[in-house]
Structures are given as structure tokens and as C-alpha cells.
């Protein structure tokens, strides 16, 4: 089929609702690869990046102008400015959403994430200036309203920025809820436990395919779990949070080796370098001194590296054995 005919059919299927914009973009990319037609590739991405930089400059200039006049604006005018910005972001996102071009899909995500931020600004102004709220109740109102908008926007456009917006607002709602409920500042041990719980939930939902793009959900979930463990370590007993962090980091590295994926490996390895020395210092510094502590830390990391390389060999050997078995089966020559 000629490329113009394919494009015509895709447009027709898109208009009839048989394809989503994302599916259309993927079909175009597939056909371009198959026919060798130009896709724009790096040049298109560079042009898009330049466009974003230009837009950032323009928004920065607008912000500077706004700072100059902000003090002279009445409260309703301030709220109107914030609300207008939010509506513009939301409307522009809705406008470009139907365009089945990857750059426009990314732009939709950026604009709608901006709308979530704009809504937080608007509700924050209403809460502070009109409802006389401040502190934790204001934070709860702002974060809850942002979450209420971020979730449906993410359901419509399942991309990185909106997923991160949902996670950030969810974390803010959880934090401000606990701070509103608790008359005393919550102990770091349980703040950390809450962060670990949120991270583990995000990780499980990512692995299960409920939060596309899955790689981002898994990576942010893993990072949150490690941040939670580090937060726990601010409380007594300090070694508990650090030990939990080391266990989580080691588990990530093991999973990365077993599944041959990179992102848990990077996160887990970085966390091991950050947490293991802290844990060894916490447990042994008083008894063996700083140089010996460093030596123990180094040896532990070397042992871990050796163990991981062995695990990796086992996985590869296992895969090789499975391949050989398949090749020996009748009709398995091309497997």
C-alpha cells in the first residue's frame, strides 16, 4: 500500500474512533520503518526541544512581568489570572490531543501537567486569600484538588509527566492528611514507613501494567522506597531504616540481574553505595574505627558484586540451556 494511502486510512480509522492517537502514532512509525520512509527522527526531536526552550523563555518573561504587577492586583484579579492560566493550559492540551503526531502527544502531556500546577496555584490563592486557610489544611486542600484533576487527565493521556503529577500529588495528599490529623509531628520512623508503602504500591502497580509507562512507575516506586528507608533512619534505632534500605537496594539489584533490566540495577547499585557505608558506620564505627569501617564496607560491596556476576552467569547459562532444548525439538529450528 502506498504511504499516502496508509496515511489516509489511518486518518479515517482515527476519525471513526477505531484507533487511539497513540496507536495511530505507533502504526505510522511501524510503516515508516517498513517502507523506509523518512520519520523526521532526530531533526524532529531537536526542533521540538528548541520549541520547548523557546516556550520556557516566553513563560519566564511572562512570569517576570506578572511579578511586577502582582502586588498591585486585587485578590479577585489574582485568582482570575491563575484560573485563566489553568484554563488556557487545559484547553490547549485538549486542542492538540487529537493530533496523531508524537510531538503533539508529548505536548498534550506537558500542557495538562501545567494545568494541574495551575489549578494548585488557583486553589491555593482561594484557600489562603478567601478561606483564610494556612498550613496543613491549605496544603491538603491544594494537593487534593490537584490530585482530583491529575487522575482523570492521566487516565486520558497515560504518559510520564502526568503519571509523575499523580504520584507527587498523591504523596502530598497523604503527607498533609497525616499532618492535619496528628497534633504532634509524626515520628520519622512512621513517615518513612508511609513513603515505603507508597513506593511499594507504585512499584507493584507498575509491574502489573496498571500505570503505564511501566518503567517510570517501577523506577519512581523503587526510588520512593529507598527514600522512605533513609527517612526511617532519622529515628531510633537508626540501623533499622538503613538495614531495610540495604535489603531493598540489594533486592532491586538481584531483580535487575534475574530479569535483565537496567533501571532497578542503576537505582539499587546507587542506593547500595549510599546506604551500606552509613549502615556499617552505624553498627561498627565505635568498635573498629573509621578506616576499618571503610574496609568492611568495601569488602561487602566487592562480595555483592561477585555474587551478582555469578547470578548473572547462572541466568545466562539457564537461558542458553532452554534455547538448546527448544532447538532440539522438532520444528524448532527457527525458534
Amino acid at each position: 500500500m502506498a504511504s499516502q494511502e496508509i496515511e489516509r486510512r489511518i486518518e479515517a480509522w482515527l476519525a471513526a474512533g477505531l484507533l487511539t492517537a497513540e496507536q495511530a502514532a505507533r502504526l505510522r512509525a511501524f510503516e515508516a520503518d517498513a517502507t523506509g520512509a523518512p520519520r523526521g527522527g532526530r531533526r524532529a526531536l531537536a526542533a521540538e526541544a528548541v520549541g520547548y526552550v523557546g516556550a520556557a523563555f516566553a513563560l519566564g518573561a511572562l512570569a517576570l512581568l506578572l511579578v511586577d504587577v502582582w502586588g498591585g492586583l486585587t485578590v479577585p484579579a489574582r485568582i482570575a489570572v491563575a484560573a485563566l492560566g489553568t484554563v488556557l493550559f487545559l484547553g490547549a492540551g485538549a486542542g492538540v490531543r487529537r493530533l496523531a503526531i508524537p510531538a503533539m502527544q508529548r505536548l498534550t502531556s506537558v500542557l495538562w501537567t501545567g494545568a494541574v500546577g495551575g489549578l494548585g496555584w488557583t486553589v491555593g490563592l482561594v484557600g489562603y486569600e478567601v478561606l483564610d486557610l494556612f498550613g496543613e489544611p491549605l496544603a491538603l486542600l491544594v494537593s487534593a484538588s490537584m490530585l482530583a484533576v491529575a487522575v482523570p487527565l492521566y487516565a486520558l493521556r497515560r504518559r510520564v509527566l502526568l503519571q509523575l503529577a499523580v504520584l507527587a500529588t498523591l504523596a502530598a495528599v497523604a503527607t498533609s492528611s497525616v499532618l492535619t490529623l496528628s497534633p504532634l509531628p509524626p515520628p520519622p520512623l512512621w513517615v518513612g514507613a508511609g513513603i515505603i508503602g507508597l513506593g511499594l504500591t507504585w512499584l507493584l502497580l507498575g509491574i502489573g501494567g496498571w500505570l503505564p509507562p511501566a518503567v517510570v512507575a517501577e523506577a519512581t516506586g523503587a526510588v520512593l522506597m529507598l527514600i522512605g528507608a533513609q527517612t526511617m533512619s532519622a529515628d531510633d534505632p537508626r540501623w533499622l531504616g538503613l538495614a531495610l534500605g540495604v535489603v531493598i537496594a540489594a533486592a532491586l539489584v538481584v531483580v535487575a540481574v534475574r530479569t535483565d533490566t537496567r533501571h532497578p540495577l542503576f537505582i539499587g547499585a546507587f542506593a547500595l553505595f549510599v546506604l551500606t557505608p552509613q549502615l556499617v558506620f552505624e553498627l561498627f564505627e565505635d568498635t573498629i574505627g573509621a578506616p576499618a569501617t571503610l574496609l568492611v564496607t568495601g569488602l561487602l560491596l566487592v562480595l555483592l558484586a561477585v555474587g551478582l556476576s555469578r547470578a548473572r552467569r547462572d541466568v545466562i547459562a539457564g537461558a542458553g540451556h532452554a534455547d538448546a532444548t527448544i532447538r532440539r525439538t522438532p520444528g524448532g529450528e527457527d525458534a
Binding site: 490529623l181 509524626p186 515520628p187 514507613a193 508511609g194 508503602g197 509507562p213 518503567v215
Partner: protein, 228 residues
């Protein structure tokens, strides 16, 4: 690997992971609400006409970017005397005048405020000798927690003022003694202003439920130094 690249997902495994995530949420919420949400010790309120000192307490509170001089008296709402400082320390409160050391874009100043009207009666560049004046004291008491029991002792006499069961994150952040030494005001980590007799004859009573923060020092009327 592209971030948007779809992955094959087995439906049963996916539903199992969703159920696991729901269990994690329930367990986390349960644990945090049970152990993370702590309440301060329950105490009775301080009512007007009860046994309490007649003197007021001054403190610096913050409103947006401005430091305000605030005065509290038993039976009255907290009153903002004036809000015009970028920051400051309380030095003394004598004969209706509160002396503060403030700093702003023009530099450090000694400021004298009439408590009744909020008028600044004098401003002067601090003389050298005034730089050593003690600011409002943070620590009229010492509070030590061991095995879940907090013991509050008078820092001057060592007498036990209050002994109470507390959660691990409960603290006394600021305290100040009246001029005659009979009463101690304390701010706890729940931002409550408490009043207790220095001899520990009765548990503290809650003077103000929420001061907004627990770190700003207190200055009793009739204490500190007002420089000439």
C-alpha cells in the same frame, strides 16, 4: 528501551499485583494511623479567674514575611501589638514597655514598644554594652524522656515540675519563668502554651491550644532588661 513501549502483561498476574498493591495500601494506612498519629498528653484548660498569674506573656509570631509582637493574657485572645519587623529578639518588658533587638535593611536596632498602644516610642542603634544583654530565655525547665515517661524539672531548683507518660515525639521546646519564680510557661511540640506552678503542685494547664509553632521564645511581663 522506549518509556512508552508496551509490555506483555498476563491478566492473572496483573490482577494479583493489583490486589497486592491494595493490601500494601491498607497495611500502610493502618500502621501510619496507629503509630504515626500521636497525641500530646491530655490536660485541662486554663480559664479566666482561675489561679493564674496576672502578668502577660510576649512572643514574636510570624505573619507571612513580617515578625509581629504578640501579647497573651489569661482570659483574653492573643493580641498582635504591632507587625513591622523583619525579625527580632525580646530583651525585656518593664513598666508597660517592651524592648526588642530587631534587624532590617537599615541594620540592627534597639526598639522600644508601648505594650498598650503598639507605638514604637524609641529606636536607636544598639550601644556596645547592650549587645551582651540576655535575650528572652528558652530554658526555664529541663525535660528528659526515658522509657516513655517524661520528667520536667525546674532548671534553677531541680524540683520536679511534671512527670507524665508521653509518645516518643513529644517535647517541651520553649519555657520561661515569671519574675517571682512561682509560675512557668512552656510551649510543647503540639504548639500548645502550657502553664504550670514551679513547685509542681498540679499538672500543667493549657493556656493557648495552638500558637502556630513551638520555637519562638517567651517573655513574661516584669522580666528581662529594658536598656536606658
Amino acid at each position: 528501551m522506549s518509556l512508552d513501549a508496551p509490555r506483555p502483561i498476563h491478566r492473572d498476574r496483573s490482577v494479583l499485583l493489583l490486589a497486592a498493591a491494595a493490601v500494601v495500601v491498607l497495611v500502610t494506612v493502618g500502621l501510619v494511623l496507629t503509630f504515626g498519629v500521636n497525641r500530646p498528653p491530655e490536660l485541662g484548660g486554663l480559664v479566666a479567674g482561675s489561679d493564674a498569674p496576672p502578668e502577660g506573656i510576649a512572643r514574636i509570631s510570624w505573619r507571612e514575611d513580617e515578625a509581629c509582637l504578640e501579647v497573651l493574657r489569661v482570659g483574653e485572645e492573643p493580641r498582635e501589638v504591632t507587625c513591622q519587623f523583619e525579625g527580632g529578639e525580646l530583651l525585656g518588658w518593664r513598666d508597660g514597655t517592651i524592648a526588642m533587638r530587631t534587624w532590617s535593611s537599615v541594620g540592627e536596632e534597639l526598639v522600644f514598644v508601648e505594650e498598650a498602644t503598639g507605638a514604637v516610642t524609641r529606636r536607636l542603634v544598639p550601644p556596645e554594652e547592650s549587645k551582651d544583654l540576655p535575650t528572652s530565655p528558652y530554658g526555664a525547665v529541663r525535660a528528659l524522656t526515658s522509657g516513655g515517661t517524661m520528667t520536667v524539672t525546674d532548671a534553677a531548683s531541680g524540683a520536679v515540675v511534671w512527670r507524665v507518660e508521653v509518645p516518643s515525639n513529644y517535647r517541651i521546646d520553649v519555657s520561661a519563668r515569671t519574675g517571682d519564680g512561682a509560675w512557668i510557661a512552656m510551649v510543647d511540640s503540639a504548639s500548645r502554651l502550657l502553664l504550670v506552678a514551679a513547685d509542681g503542685s498540679a499538672p500543667p494547664r493549657v493556656w493557648v491550644e495552638d500558637l502556630g509553632n513551638s520555637y519562638d521564645p517567651l517573655l513574661w511581663e516584669g522580666t528581662g532588661t529594658v536598656p536606658e
